[in-house]
Symmetry: C3
Subunit: 542 residues, 3 copies
Amino acid sequence: MMENEDFQVEIMAKKGCDEELPMSVSAKSSVGFDGVSQQLQPDNVNGHRGEIHGEKPMPAEDSYGEQTIEGEAIDPPERQRSMSMDGRLRDKRFDSFKKTWSDRLERRLSSLRIAPQELDVEANGIRVTETEAVPAEHRYFDVLEGPGFDTLRTSEVSVLPEDKKWPFLLRFPINSFGMCLGVSSQAVLWKALATSPAMRFLHVSLTVNLVLWCIALALVCTVSLLYSLKIMCYFEAVRREYYHPIRVNFFFAPWIACLLLAIGVPPSVAVDIHAAVWYIIMAPIFLLELKIYGQWLSGGQRRLAKVANPSSQLSIVGNFVGALLGASMGLIEGAIFFFAVGLAYYTVLFIILYLRVSTNATLPKELHPIYFFFVAVPSIVCLAWAKIRGEFDYVSKIFYFIALFIYFSLAARVNFFRGFRFSLAWWAYTFPMTAAAVATVEYSAQITNTFTRSLSIGFSAISTFAVIAVLVSTIYHAFVLHDLFPNDISITIAVANTKKRSKLCKKLAKLRSVGSDMRDTETSISRGNVRVLSSSFSSDRV
Amino acid sequence: MMENEDFQVEIMAKKGCDEELPMSVSAKSSVGFDGVSQQLQPDNVNGHRGEIHGEKPMPAEDSYGEQTIEGEAIDPPERQRSMSMDGRLRDKRFDSFKKTWSDRLERRLSSLRIAPQELDVEANGIRVTETEAVPAEHRYFDVLEGPGFDTLRTSEVSVLPEDKKWPFLLRFPINSFGMCLGVSSQAVLWKALATSPAMRFLHVSLTVNLVLWCIALALVCTVSLLYSLKIMCYFEAVRREYYHPIRVNFFFAPWIACLLLAIGVPPSVAVDIHAAVWYIIMAPIFLLELKIYGQWLSGGQRRLAKVANPSSQLSIVGNFVGALLGASMGLIEGAIFFFAVGLAYYTVLFIILYLRVSTNATLPKELHPIYFFFVAVPSIVCLAWAKIRGEFDYVSKIFYFIALFIYFSLAARVNFFRGFRFSLAWWAYTFPMTAAAVATVEYSAQITNTFTRSLSIGFSAISTFAVIAVLVSTIYHAFVLHDLFPNDISITIAVANTKKRSKLCKKLAKLRSVGSDMRDTETSISRGNVRVLSSSFSSDRV
Amino acid sequence: MMENEDFQVEIMAKKGCDEELPMSVSAKSSVGFDGVSQQLQPDNVNGHRGEIHGEKPMPAEDSYGEQTIEGEAIDPPERQRSMSMDGRLRDKRFDSFKKTWSDRLERRLSSLRIAPQELDVEANGIRVTETEAVPAEHRYFDVLEGPGFDTLRTSEVSVLPEDKKWPFLLRFPINSFGMCLGVSSQAVLWKALATSPAMRFLHVSLTVNLVLWCIALALVCTVSLLYSLKIMCYFEAVRREYYHPIRVNFFFAPWIACLLLAIGVPPSVAVDIHAAVWYIIMAPIFLLELKIYGQWLSGGQRRLAKVANPSSQLSIVGNFVGALLGASMGLIEGAIFFFAVGLAYYTVLFIILYLRVSTNATLPKELHPIYFFFVAVPSIVCLAWAKIRGEFDYVSKIFYFIALFIYFSLAARVNFFRGFRFSLAWWAYTFPMTAAAVATVEYSAQITNTFTRSLSIGFSAISTFAVIAVLVSTIYHAFVLHDLFPNDISITIAVANTKKRSKLCKKLAKLRSVGSDMRDTETSISRGNVRVLSSSFSSDRV
């Protein structure tokens, strides 16, 4: 099965800042053909900690040990709750996210030694037979609610304490790279304003570009450093972000930010960029795309119709930014390669986003800013094609006008972007607005008249204002209100509570006399699909 | 919520031909996140008429008063039926559709004065608490059946008497502008036949173009006049047509007809058209598109997957007709703008129409003619692009051949277009056929040989014959059989009859002992979603 | 109804190798608007054989007679099973697939004579009133399971004996033409390698092309001959393959193989091909497309969202292969016509394949090779456009790079193409790989450097190796293991077993007191839609 390949955890050398021994191993998980695991895996899941430390396994400890690196924690909610009253234990909860490579090595080794006899112990335990090991990546769709996949279902119990503030790094999400996109694209805009012949009458100095570029560089370095620390300290949390259907798109953001830094590099810093830079930055983008677009194709749980949402456009836009840089460096064939791949998947994504089969409800208000990505992609397509062709031809114009129309269209729905509190998602406004402004500046270089010049100035002003406003808000929320990075509920998912399920099963068993032909229905419901049942109703309704 | 913005009814100055006081006000409606209103709104809905006229509110009067301007009429069916036996009252039913701006002003003012004490009165009424105020625009999907959304569900009670012929203007639908498209495109065809160098051997006189153009102009004026009268007299009916998922596309038709008139203008009438004409005609098209394409994007009840049907292509084709006129007037950038927007949304729509997620069943036979719009769009795309580029290049040819293939494909399925009675929908044959003929004439100007000339003559003959046949049928049905404009059931929807629902709820309550986990299912069913349930079944079946 | 047009069986002159009298006539079938037949047709279906032979109709004979030419066999499972124990009768089962045109004529005539009195006999039979005549083409979706539509549901009883090997021709599927595609495209590749200026350094001889072309020609002739025999002997089986949602796409394969033979013709055999050849080969492709794309458009049971699967790309690729040949022969306009049609439907199909609404589950492992068609289409598009334009321009490059990326993307998921046994489906690897190799050779002729040359050699080597490996496996399985052509279960479908349904109905009748509003649901379920019910659940889950 394709979906399982990520589970093959390499045993690597010890790194990072963890000091505790691991107490759980990955449960072998099996994914049924319908993408739902139906196999119970009592072996190797539980009780290791007790054995390793030579203690009698205590219930609380035991349930703690169930939070595995692989995400298949088995955690009856009663215990979880009793645990949260136990301060000493509660603090240790973060440890399961701290575990990194070295831990795995030790764990693997110890499990090899201990596993056989443990298997017998576990087989006797009644609790384990009730549980079901589901790979973390599939759990997201079961456990998280809302099209943003950011609220834990009420039936779920968080792995981490929700009533306490977590360590900073655990709360620092991959989305933070959105800030880098916003600021580094501003550097590109002011470089375009300073060098475009149509905008010469403004006498914009390249110094603005230089200052912005330095800020952007500092921001990219800071965020990268922080996130690197997170990778080292809480690798499990990063892994969970990678499996999150919306977050995964933001793994493109660091590389796109680097591309933007290379495009917006001030002439005083560098005139020619070595071709190797392009290859180095495009390599991770290419590999991520092979992985993600491949999942879209081969279907299953992570097929496009299931995961498509406006933020998926982030996984596309890298192609065009890369093509833009490549073409400006003279690497035309490479630029066309990424342009072609991007175009194919952009067409698919654009249409599927209009179709939105999977997300019956509209996105939550808090995520409305990511609708602006609809403006970003055609703007960058237009710029990239113009650079590949060497002229702003009909194709560029068509994409530019599409971006323009969508911009107007979104601007006309002011209510759509009002009435929700500030969050990191607001940075999604800045990059698309800036991209549209850059495209307008390029367009006005081709069609130079008062209208296009006004448009350029207008869009540039709006985007700069947006970046400043969002930046100030970010600083205010980060350093004054200290609420920029709330607890990251999305990564706290545990294995489904099968106790509740079995109750449902019993109730449904009363209905079984109706006829064995209804078994299909029951099976679906007893798998906890009542949600699915109701959403398949509402899918027709909405 | 985006969907609610149309409800903000401006209070405007009195106009039109109504002489009765209004007797209802708009119910404040709330749309839940799933697009289903769950809030009961007993206040301000009912009984105003009685208060205003100083009469003791009679039951019949009362139920009458429930038909509000906003479309949230609350009308228990028993009363409705007793009313229809009361001749005096029945006639007044049309009044609720007559109400215009002035009425609203008065109503608002009076409701401000009377509302508070009424609220108490209403709170005691048992009937009101059973009703549910749903915005008219959402009601269409609940109340109307069939993919054509033109039959009222059996559980629904019409607001207007179904057993009596309504006033002419109420029966005069926006679809009537389809006639204008058919005839004015004929003027364009005969202009092309007269001026195309490849067709010179036919010696077609420009007089034919002149005559057709005058007929088209007269038709456009007549239909516009009649519809303007409808806007003035029955604004509520127009508003309901605007919210109808198929009808709304025909609001583009008047402007497209104007564009066609401008394209087909005889050289003897005018040689150059002032650029302002193009801007004036394109402005409403642009605004309609901002509105409608925006709804497609932001999801919810009116997202594309829900409302897409072959007539949606009418909301696209205006872009290309506009681009064609703009390019022929030299407004290249404006033309490319509309071309680009059209192309983006045409791609989306074309694919979604092939997918048809929402309409599980095929279209009713009576609407099969609108399948011919599949021919119209690529034909016009081909013409517009040829005009923008100044030559019939590969892109134009690709779109021309797509139109040609779809034409053949539809022509091959003769049974598909047979066996249903004449209606205004038949005019959907004429415009696409004529557009294909014009494109063929243009193509044969590029590739001139016997085959292309024969094709041009053949398609021109077929389209002219079709227009004549449909025109004669229309005149016959309009003036002899008097059945061209039947009662327009689609606009008569009232608020859902919750009485029946609650019966269903009681019956379902027996099942409740099965287990509280089935609550989701029940809720869906008790919301009257039995239809949805069955259609979610058939969606997989069909 | 469009879907019924294929049922109008022409009465033709006797041909073929059947020697038995027919014993059944086609049941008049009616398709409800939702594509589900609801009309019981007891007349003319049953008991003919008994009458013709002057025998007292025995139960076993009777059930035999129910297997009609039209595919509406009515076959209670008990009888079927009792029959399978009766050796003499079992052998005769194949006869119903042998029946050809002459039989129909006779059957029609005899039914005219015998029908009236039989109708009375049948009307008394209790069995017939329980049955439901459904057209074979709709049955596929009800009876066959899995996205490959190749397993009979457990509730179904096969018309043909499953425990015995059938006659060879009955087991010889249309898929066999896949072999022709693989080998004839190799001839094209080696012609390209021998003639491309960029590959001149390899000194590939045209003799390889000649040898491969001769092998391909022999293979095409052999397979065509065998399939012609099948058409003559078992026309019913061919008809059932034509209605099969996956198989129908392979009806394009013979013509595509002919096109490839014409493209890869060795210069020593022919230099110029007469234009008539192109028209003759493209005619059946055009007619098949009119039929199949028309079904996609008009919706219903065979609409695209329902039948789309990776093999649907076979019905598209013919357009581009045809365009490639046409353009190389100078028939530019014809080439653009097929290119345009192909492009339109390829865009639609590509996106719908990513969406996969209908097939909730992923394809069975055995069909994974057909994912490689994703590589074939853009490769051929690139070649066809380069030939039309006369140069390898941006459009060609874009499609080439899309093919390249998908190739990499599939190659990266090695697990996806491992772990299933050999079947004819493996030939789906060869044609796409060869097409990609040809496109790479063409690309390297444009951009000649070490990298592109290595890529050309690599892809050519892989594709040649793949063809050889699959060819050897095929020969081994065909002539040594004798398991290349297993019993073709897909064509054995009978009419649904309504007995089981009625049991379900009775059980559900208990629920009927819940309320008449649930009737829709019941109707759906009693039609045997429990499968649909569960799949509408899983569609949201998976």
